[in-house]
Symmetry: none
Subunit: 180 residues, 2 copies
Amino acid sequence: MNGRDTDIGSRLRRLREARGISLSALARSAGIGKATLSGLELGTRNPTLETLYAVAGALGLPLTALVLEPGAPPTEAVHVPGAAVTATLLEVFEEPTATFELLRMRVRPGIVQHSPPHAPGVTEHVTVHAGVLRAGPADAPLLAAPGEHISWQADVPHIYSTVGPDEALATLLIRSPRQA
Amino acid sequence: MNGRDTDIGSRLRRLREARGISLSALARSAGIGKATLSGLELGTRNPTLETLYAVAGALGLPLTALVLEPGAPPTEAVHVPGAAVTATLLEVFEEPTATFELLRMRVRPGIVQHSPPHAPGVTEHVTVHAGVLRAGPADAPLLAAPGEHISWQADVPHIYSTVGPDEALATLLIRSPRQA
DNA sequence: ATGGTTCGTTCCGCAAACGGAACGATTGCG
DNA sequence: CGCAATCGTTCCGTTTGCGGAACGAACCAT
């Protein structure tokens, strides 16, 4: 069937489960059939570019995050999950016990960006470089000035916003343990 | 046919013609049909991942080169003598197969900081937030402006310095595989 | 238990991506 | 001028990716 396996299936499954999204839900939000997504993750289908775009878009990821391959140059693509936060996926590290996603984040002032809870065990680590960031669990956000670093468990609803009139720049490292 | 055009077709055609390869020849060396490649370039087909890999491989390109517009070429390198890096260790992640160290870095202008080679397999990943950073292998440093991201193998002597009069702020993620 | 919900997989008819073979157009050579 | 070779496109039968529906398993509340 698939001569060389491109290993997209297992990576996709990890990315999906790291976000705590069910296969059915992802298929629904991507506008594709469950059968398609299931076959894609199991590696029994040879997906179409259109299908890949739909899935990547629903995950809020650039297509390159799905098709990452050894030797490929670090890819930089912009995704916009919401209004206030613009994030750029810089690197994805696949470790046996965890997946690390390194992103650069820009938070516009005056808006509060809400993010749904991720899977249990997921932690987020933010280093602020410019502006004052207010981020963390929605019921107990943390403050970070330039040079400071904050982190929190991301398995609860959390927010991102700025303090003051300036936008904030930061790096975001998301650690998703395999198997919650 | 294809609701949103992904613009892969025209990019592929440019890449192919830039190499002076005919459609027939590329199809032959990729092991796919001429009809498939023609339809792909014209945008009348929705290619399969397998097809994309075949074409990218025949062009000697990573798949990401087909899917993503190559980033802007690095600007002209400017040489600045001098050196000094202040780094703050923010987090350490101990994984079974690798250790990740997350640092925040401040590079003062006018000096070139030299760093001895690390163990084989160690990679460094830098995201610049302010200033222009010049870093990487001592014999082939890379340039990064704010917002840009660079990475390199750290098992050779490498350097950090700035370009221009301003200091540079960045995050540094060091990935060290266990046992090298 | 029992009905209801959601999970991921499998079955199946349909649409479409696939490669081979034609096609007309263009080029190069005798 | 033939005439062969190659170009990129189009036609066509086969293969296969597609989504909807049905499936068994797991979970929850009653």
